[in-house]
């Protein structure tokens, strides 16, 4: 009995999701450090480079959080990219053509997000249609709707409040990480409003997943849907809520996104769903459901952002090589993850 207890104590806390998360964080640190050393002369070691990753990916962080929740239930939501595109267009056209004020539009957008998620959730949860197909239809719908709203490229410039929000700069205090560039300007690192929104979302979703019944039932449903139902969980409702949450966070992400791009165009955020999914997966979320958390997804986004930032800093890759390099890095990453998992399983055996 004693021996068993000891064995168990040593195993404690090292379950699947944790180990994947540790791998992810470890690899991120290694990759970022290596980048900083190799590209020190190109400014990769500036604090601003890191903040830029956050600024550029604030929308993606929100979306990845929502995506994680859906993936946890064993579902998938590929409508997010199109939904963001629609939100951006709605915002832009709302401000520029319909003359609505931005706070009203933001509330409308959140409502649209919830409704969109509700419909998808109903189809998945209550009609039991396959998530991939439902959200694919959602994707078609949102893309089409974007074109229905407008086929033009619309710049947001007439709503002063919104422009002010977009231009808000939060400087790092005490000029930490500041430097003088070759033009003689003092560059003080800064971040923008979307970063704050995204980090708040991240923390909120983390808490929801860990400390609420709803959060835990997402895991239960993903672990085994049938069992969850037999244990007395309302599986249908839980699944529906997951899609609502995803679309809602996607709407918030859309606001972050449009604060960054300040434009509505037909093909905005195309393929964002794949970025969100790959971030979640890199962060240790399993597509089969039940395993993962948003901290992992956050680091997934950072890793994707770092890869992309490295490619841009390199600056010599001809067009398609950058895609190939990104894919190779992704591949190395996924394979490493698989190998680690396998090693760990073998040890358990």
């Amino acid at each position: 009995m004693n021996r068993k207890a000891i064995v168990q104590r040593s195993r404690r806390g090292m379950n699947n999701s944790n180990i994947l998360l540790m791998i992810t964080i470890g690899l991120f640190i290694v990759m970022y450090t290596a980048g900083s050393i190799v590209y020190a002369d190109k400014g990769f070691d500036h604090l601003q480079t890191f903040l830029n990753i956050l600024i550029n990916n604030a929308g993606l962080i929100c979306v990845a959080c929502g995506m994680t929740c859906v993936l946890l239930t064993g579902g998938i939501d590929i409508s997010v990219g199109a939904l963001i595109g629609m939100v951006c267009m709605f915002m832009a056209v709302g401000i520029e053509f319909w003359g609505l004020s931005s706070p009203v539009l933001m509330i409308l957008i959140l409502l649209i997000g919830i409704t969109f998620g509700l419909v998808q959730g109903l189809c998945v949860g209550y009609l039991n249609i396959q998530p991939f197909i439902v959200t694919m239809a959602g994707m078609f719908f949102a893309r089409g709707m974007t074109a229905v709203i407008s086929t033009q490229q619309v710049t947001i410039k007439s709503d002063e409040f919104f422009v002010m929000l977009a231009n808000l700069k939060f400087f790092i205090p005490f000029e930490i990480g500041a430097y003088v560039n070759s033009k003689g300007r003092l560059m003080v690192p800064f971040f923008r409003l979307p970063v704050i929104i995204a980090l708040c979302v991240l923390v909120a979703v983390f808490l929801i997943l860990r400390y609420t019944r709803f959060g835990r039932s997402l895991y239960a449903v993903g672990g085994n849907q049938q069992s969850a139902a037999l244990m007395g969980l309302d599986v249908k409702k839980t699944r529906m809520k997951a899609y609502m949450l995803s679309s809602f966070l996607c709407a918030i992400g859309g606001i972050c996104y449009v604060l960054n791009t300040m434009a509505g165009t037909a093909s905005q955020a195309a393929g964002l769903e794949m970025d969100a999914i790959s971030s979640a997966v890199i962060g240790g979320t399993l597509l089969t459901g039940g395993v993962g958390n948003v901290i992992g997804s956050f680091f997934g986004v950072l890793i994707n952002g770092t890869i992309s930032s490295l490619v841009k800093t390199h600056g010599k890759l001809i067009s398609s090589w950058s895609n190939v390099v990104t894919a190779i890095l992704l591949c190395v990453f996924i394979v490493l993850q698989a190998v680690f998992t396998k090693l760990k399983e073998n040890r358990k055996r």
Binding site: M1, K4, A5, Q8, R9, R11, R12, G13, N15, N16, L207, R210, Y211, T212, R213, R216, S217, Y219, A220, G222, G223, N224, Q226, S227, A228, A229, L230, M231, G232, L233, D234, G290, V291, N346, R347, K348, R349
Partner: protein
């Protein structure tokens, strides 16, 4: 004594496509009684329970729960729980990815004032609960790290912990060993004394006579009758369940050791599997039934799997008919004439969405290879033959196997292996969840197969079943083969060996 009724079910009828699973069944449960629900495989026990707990919506019939005016119609387990019905289903139904603690409390977590989950309280209560059941496990560990038996205990703990008027246990003991069963029974008695009505489904008659107060018997979806325990002796119970008398189990006895001199069929030398099974030697001769025995989790299944190649052995050699062989994959073992019925039916046995026919011919097909499809006519013939032979209760051979009752699914897998006609067959808990009549049939079958010159490796948690069928017993302790028993085997001697008192 006042018989206060907590549950009445009247005229429950339930149909599945092609099957009338329940036909006007009545059931009454009183306060503070343990009520056995008995019947053969496929009699409709699990279905009746699922109608009660809202997993299925019955086609007609009424359910009354004590304290409610209106007839209740549960639409989901959640509703049933609210109505005071707590259930442990036949197959373990927990979430493998959650920790033990979360499995115990999912959906009813203790919350703080802010409405968030109070993990500290949850941890404390979970540990308390496990302690009460006498289980020393880490409740923060993920569930999938624990064996089926422990999972079963955890499922029971979960059900018991809920404030309920009615507790339903559908074959909770099928994967438990005696000590666990004892723990469970004391728990059940405690609850009974607190006034909970308990429905208990099992195929172990001794257990019925040990704890139950009353028995309801189903046959083929029809109610046979409800009897107080004292009025229904064992023989009558069997007769009621099967609709006929059966020759008693006691008659079976292997002609022991007559084949002692026969050729060794399988011999393992120093075979091992990292972290689980320490190197062991084992010889199995033709015409011999060898049993593996040991405590829960002592590695019986693992040892068998190592021989079969389901888990690849790391060291040692395996000889089949004196020829050294390398098994990398189960199919290699099958080509050498082996077969293995795994213990976890749901995870490794049935292929749920295939038909009965397909499940039966699967093994033969694997042997023939992918290019060599077994003609449809032969498939049907084989399937029909085994449905007949093992009396598999199925509407047709084209029924999906997941629609069969648990016991009948087991028979389908047995049929799969018999169809491949192996020289050496590993049967890991073949009688788990199988009714008494069929159990006898299977035991007879094992002996008959041995008589035909096959070698059998038999694993079962029921010691008398092993004693009845085996020529020899290998004893395992903590993943190590500690000895063999032969000749005059008695229950005491075996128990002693397992517990580690005697070094065999």
């Amino acid at each position: 004594m006042e018989d206060r009724v907590v549950l009445t079910m009247r005229g429950i009828t339930m149909t599945f496509p092609g099957v009338l699973a329940l036909d006007g069944v009545d059931f009454t449960l009183r306060k503070g009684e343990i009520h056995a629900l008995m019947g053969e495989n496929g009699a409709g026990k699990s279905t009746l329970i699922k109608c009660l707990t809202g997993v299925y919506q019955c086609d007609s019939g009424e359910i009354h729960v004590d304290g409610m005016e209106e007839p209740v119609q549960n639409h989901s387990t959640l509703e049933a729980q609210r109505n005071g019905i707590s259930t442990v289903y036949q197959e373990v139904n927990l979430c493998p990815n959650l920790s033990v603690m979360e499995n115990l409390f999912v959906g009813r977590e203790p919350v703080t004032k802010a409405g968030t989950i109070d993990r500290r309280v949850m941890l404390k209560r979970a540990q308390q609960l496990m302690e009460d059941l006498g289980l020393s496990i880490d409740v923060q560990q993920t569930l999938e790290n624990y064996s089926l038996a422990l999972q079963q205990m955890i499922a029971i703990a979960r059900a018991v912990d809920m404030e309920c008027k009615i507790l339903i246990l559908d074959e909770p003991t099928s994967s438990l060993d005696d000590s666990e069963v004892a723990k469970l029974f004391s728990l059940m008695r405690k609850l009974r004394d607190q006034g909970v009505g308990i429905v208990f489904v099992t195929h172990f008659l001794e257990q019925v006579y040990e704890v139950c107060d009353r028995i309801t018997v189903l046959r083929n979806g029809l109610l046979v009758g409800e009897y107080p325990l004292s009025e229904l002796p064992r023989v009558n119970l069997i007769a009621a369940m099967m609709g006929k008398d059966i020759d008693d189990l006691k008659e079976i006895k292997p002609e022991s050791c007559q084949n002692n001199c026969a050729e060794p069929l399988i011999s393992a030398e120093g075979l091992s599997h990292v972290n689980k099974i320490k190197p062991f030697d084992l010889q199995i001769r033709q015409g011999e039934v060898i049993g593996l025995t040991g405590l829960l989790g002592s590695g019986r299944s693992e040892l068998a799997r190592t021989i079969y190649g389901a888990d690849k052995a790391q060291t040692g050699t395996l000889k089949v008919k004196d020829k050294k062989v390398h098994i990398n994959h189960p199919i290699d073992a099958m080509r050498l004439g082996m077969g293995m019925l795994p213990d976890d039916r749901k995870a490794e046995g049935v292929i749920a969405d295939l038909t009965v026919r397909e499940n039966i011919v699967l093994g033969i097909q694997a042997l023939r290879g992918i290019m060599n499809l077994l003609p449809m006519k032969e498939q049907c013939e084989i399937a029909d033959r085994f449905i007949e032979l093992l009396q598999i209760k199925t509407p047709s051979r084209e029924t999906l196997v997941k629609q069969l009752s648990g016991g009948n699914q087991q028979k389908v897998i047995i049929a799969r292996w018999l169809a491949t006609n192996p020289d050496f067959l590993i049967l890991d808990e073949p009688t788990r969840g199988i009714d008494i009549g069929t159990k006898t049939e299977i035991q007879k079958l094992i002996i008959r197969l041995a008589d035909e010159g096959k070698g059998i490796l038999f694993i079962s948690s029921e010691i008398d079943e092993m004693l009845r069928t085996c020529n020899r017993l290998a004893v395992l302790r903590d993943g190590e083969k500690v000895g063999e028993l032969q000749g005059d085997m008695t229950q005491e001697r075996v128990m002693h060996a397992i517990a580690g008192g005697e070094n065999v």
